[in-house]
């Protein structure tokens, strides 16, 4: 029996470790730069691109494939990431190993990350700048290219800052002014003076907006000024605006340390940047942030709710059939499919509560909803509702575990029941309450289905926290890692390209849950040490 039960545990552990291993391996491999292979094909191979025999790319996968019956058996094929989606119309190519005539790892091949169309793989030819053309053969070509890319990156940030922050603020002010006008109109206080005042303010803002917009347009034009000319492995020469390049490196030239440095910077970009190109490129920072804020908000909502309910159930209510029925109902609530909570959240929080808030406090914005649409607040509350049974159950257990001796000592000292709960019972139950919170967070942070109904979006232009007053925007929609995984895996235009991102995002989601839980567990251990004793 020992062996039997141990075996099942072993199987479970092996499965978990394998799962984590697969996720870690696939998740990290996308960041590690592999070498770029140039392949010369045999005559008439179906893998040829645009009729040429040469193609180059990173080998992503080597797999067995079943081939036609007349040849018999199986053959091996390589999956190459060939990049240059703008030129080829695809990003990946399968090549049969039998079709390969020659493999080389050319030293001069360059891989560059672009703003659009994914990576570029090719040989640099020249750099056409306003100051003249620099040929790839010239000794200062690399230096000039690096400078150009750096300048372009800086300029792109500047454009972003103008368009998002400065123009965003002006838009916000203009919207606020229009709302003021609308509010005055609803209240019947809209005088002609007021109207002209607002019109003047709007005109001033419009003027400032145009200045900024012109500045941004000028910068954009500068971005397009320089041209980077390169030759595809297939032989065609192409050119793109140098400002579209984000970074470049020579994959076959950098050594292990270069690869490692590139790996680290890629991970950093993934964590800190916003997604680009339908989420398949760039980073996932808004999704990390959204998941984090949502989980925190959920915890803030679920703990008081669950603890107070558990105190009533355990300490105040008269134990009887009714309380037993309530307890069973609470436990069963934990088994209700999460999408049901999503529907409830949509109906109750979004339409009913949010709609009421809108008609009471934001009538001037209607029919555009403010709180009457999905948002991070409603998503957090929906998840709080979903996870509250977990907190109730574990809090009740913790309350029940507080020794009778301690309660009696407190009551005998002249404390009231509430004082006893507040000063003796609750502090001793804190570790149990945190256990409930850990379980609630673990469930809540990974939940996707209900969120799709109450506020998660594929791409949120703004974070729930920013520098525009009132700084915390609980009504905003947000991005979530779990939904991001779903979106990448099933909704993305290039599923091959998105696959590694799915793993990387999954790894990140697991990591985030682990970090949140670990901090709660640390807190619990700290408190437990404080209350540790034989008497309790």
């Amino acid at each position: 029996m020992v062996w039997f039960s141990g075996m099942w545990l072993g199987i479970g552990l092996v499965m978990i470790v394998t799962l984590l291993g697969v996720i870690v391996k696939n998740g990290f491999s996308i960041f590690w730069p592999s070498r770029v292979m140039e392949i010369e094909l045999v005559e008439g191979s179906p893998a040829a691109i645009q009729g040429t025999k040469v193609l180059a790319g990173e080998v992503r996968k080597v797999q067995e494939k079943r081939i036609q019956a007349e040849k018999g058996g199986t053959a091996r094929e390589k999956q190459l990431f060939v990049g240059n989606r703008d030129a080829y119309g695809f990003g990946f190519r399968y090549v049969d190993e039998s079709d390969i005539a020659k493999i080389t790892y050319p030293d001069g091949i360059l891989l560059a990350e672009r703003v659009e169309y994914g990576d570029l793989i090719g040989y640099p030819v020249s750099l056409k700048l306003a100051s003249g053309e620099v040929k790839a053969e010239s000794p200062d070509f690399l230096k000039r290219l690096g400078e150009t890319v750096a300048v372009g990156n800086r300029r792109r940030h500047e454009i972003e800052s103008i368009e998002k922050d400065q123009i965003g603020k002006i838009n916000h002010r203009m919207g606020a002014l229009r709302l003021q006008q609308r509010k005055a109109e609803i209240d019947g206080k809209l005088t002609d003076d007021y109207r002209t005042d607002i019109a003047a303010d709007l005109a001033e803002l419009q003027r400032r907006y145009e200045i900024l917009a012109n500045k941004a347009a000028a910068l954009r034009a500068e971005q397009k000024a320089g041209l980077f000319v390169y030759r595809l492995p297939t032989g065609t020469e192409r050119e793109i605006p140098a400002g579209d390049l984000m970074q470049f490196y020579f994959p076959n030239r950098i050594g292990f340390f270069g690869q490692f440095g590139h790996f680290c910077s890629e991970i950093w970009h993934f964590l800190s940047r916003e997604p680009r190109e339908a989420n398949t490129e760039g980073g996932v920072f808004p999704a990390i942030f959204g998941t984090f804020v949502m989980t925190l908000l959920m915890s803030v909502a679920v703990v008081p709710f669950g603890v107070v309910a558990a105190i009533y159930l355990r300490e105040y209510s008269k134990q009887g059939p009714l309380v037993r029925a309530v307890r069973i109902a609470v436990n069963n609530l934990a088994g209700v499919p999460s999408i049901v909570f999503g529907v409830f959240g949509l109906g109750f929080f979004v339409y009913f509560v949010g709609g009421s808030i809108d008609s009471l406090f934001f009538p001037e914005r209607l029919p555009t909803p403010t709180y009457g649409t999905g948002g991070i607040l409603w998503a957090s509350l929906t998840l709080a509702l979903m996870t509250v049974p977990v907190v109730i159950v574990s809090t009740e257990e913790a309350l029940a575990a507080v020794s009778r001796g301690a309660r009696e000592a407190s009551l005998a000292a002249g404390a009231s029941k509430w004082q006893t709960i507040q000063r003796i019972v609750l502090p001793a139950s804190v570790p149990g309450i945190i256990t409930g919170l850990v379980l609630a967070m673990a469930r809540g942070a990974g939940e996707v289905a209900p969120l799709m109904l109450v506020g998660v979006v594929k791409l949120a232009p703004t974070l729930p926290l920013d520098t525009v007053a009132p700084f915390i925007h609980l009504e905003r929609k947000f991005m979530h890692l779990g939904f991001h995984i779903y979106d990448l895996g099933f909704q993305s235009p290039d599923s091959e390209a998105a696959k590694p991102m799915v793993f990387a995002t999954t790894l990140l989601l697991i990591g985030l849950v682990v970090v949140l839980n670990a901090s709660a567990i640390l807190l619990r251990e700290k408190l437990r040490r404080r209350y540790a004793s034989s008497a309790f």
């Binding site: 407190s410 009551l411 209350y531």
Partner: protein
């Protein structure tokens, strides 16, 4: 509190000036100077559930500033009676009682009486020491804290006085802010005594306070009880007859929920009037 003299007239069933009503005729000549009867129990019966009666028609008087010991075999109801004095049994569902208990003339089951104010006048020490998971200091001042006292000077004074009263001051005065859970078993029990006397109650109820202690700690606690009776009316439940003989002024013997005999300790141990008492004391029973 001075104006509420404990008049026996409150209860017509009372036989005046008798420390032991069930054995009244035997005890009358032995009490030269009567102290004030602080706790009066009149025809008190107690049920845990309607079918389970654990105390039957108890009538007794507990004089002030004396140590009264309750002895008897396990399950005889002595702890139940003790826990009625500060109404700790209220925590249990389904209890019921008949008869009255008055403390300093006040009926403790009076619906107008606040249980909290009753408990503030009655300190209690439990069988198992139960310090709170707080510092030594906070343990002692707990009853003052819940009563809303936050004046640091008063609290400091109470801590010193109570810990000295519980003979613990010298051992812990340098670590008042450390957790009470780091103390030894005997120290914990003395801390619980300090906590019970911090608010200067009138009565101290002790439910087998030494049953979990070693002989040295027991001796210390016993010494302490002898000291405490100068200020407090002490009621102690004990299984240890030598202890009852050593420290108490008056002893009540319970058997199967009935008060068999109550008298001055010397008399109970040397010359018991009832056959059952003699059997128990001499070890033939229980």
């Amino acid at each position: 509190m001075e104006d509420t003299h404990p008049t026996q007239d409150l209860d017509p069933m009372t036989q005046p000036s008798s420390s032991v009503t069930s054995a009244a005729e035997t005890s009358a000549p032995a009490a030269p100077v009567r102290k004030k009867d602080y706790i009066q129990v009149r025809d008190f019966s107690f049920n845990y559930t309607p079918a389970v009666r654990v105390l039957h028609n108890i009538t007794m008087d507990i004089p002030e500033n004396e140590v009264t010991a309750f002895i008897g075999p396990s399950g005889c109801g002595k702890t139940t009676l003790l826990r009625n004095f500060n109404r700790m049994n209220d925590l249990i569902d389904g209890i019921s009682h008949e008869g009255t208990i008055t403390v300093n003339g006040q009926d403790i089951f009076d619906p107008n009486l606040e249980v909290i104010s009753l408990r503030k006048r009655i300190g209690m020490v439990f069988q198992k020491s139960n310090p709170f998971p707080k510092s030594i200091y906070e343990n002692v001042v707990y009853s003052l804290r819940v009563a809303g006292q936050s004046n640091k000077e008063i609290l400091d004074e109470v801590v010193e006085r109570s810990l000295k009263g519980a003979a613990l001051w010298e051992e812990v005065k340098d670590r008042l802010n450390q957790s009470a859970l780091g103390l030894s078993g005997g120290q914990m029990q003395r801390l619980c005594i300090a906590r019970a006397i911090a608010n200067q109650p009138h009565i101290l109820l002790m439910d087998e306070p030494c049953s979990a202690l070693d002989p040295i700690a027991t001796a210390k606690v016993e010494e302490l009880i002898m000291e405490l009776k100068r200020q407090f009316t002490v009621v102690i439940v004990t299984h240890n007859m030598q202890q009852a003989a050593r420290i108490s002024d008056r002893t009540a013997y319970f058997y199967l929920g009935r008060l068999i005999e109550m008298d001055q300790t010397l008399k109970i141990f040397n010359n018991p009037q009832k056959r059952e008492t003699e059997d128990y004391i001499s070890g033939r029973l229980g």
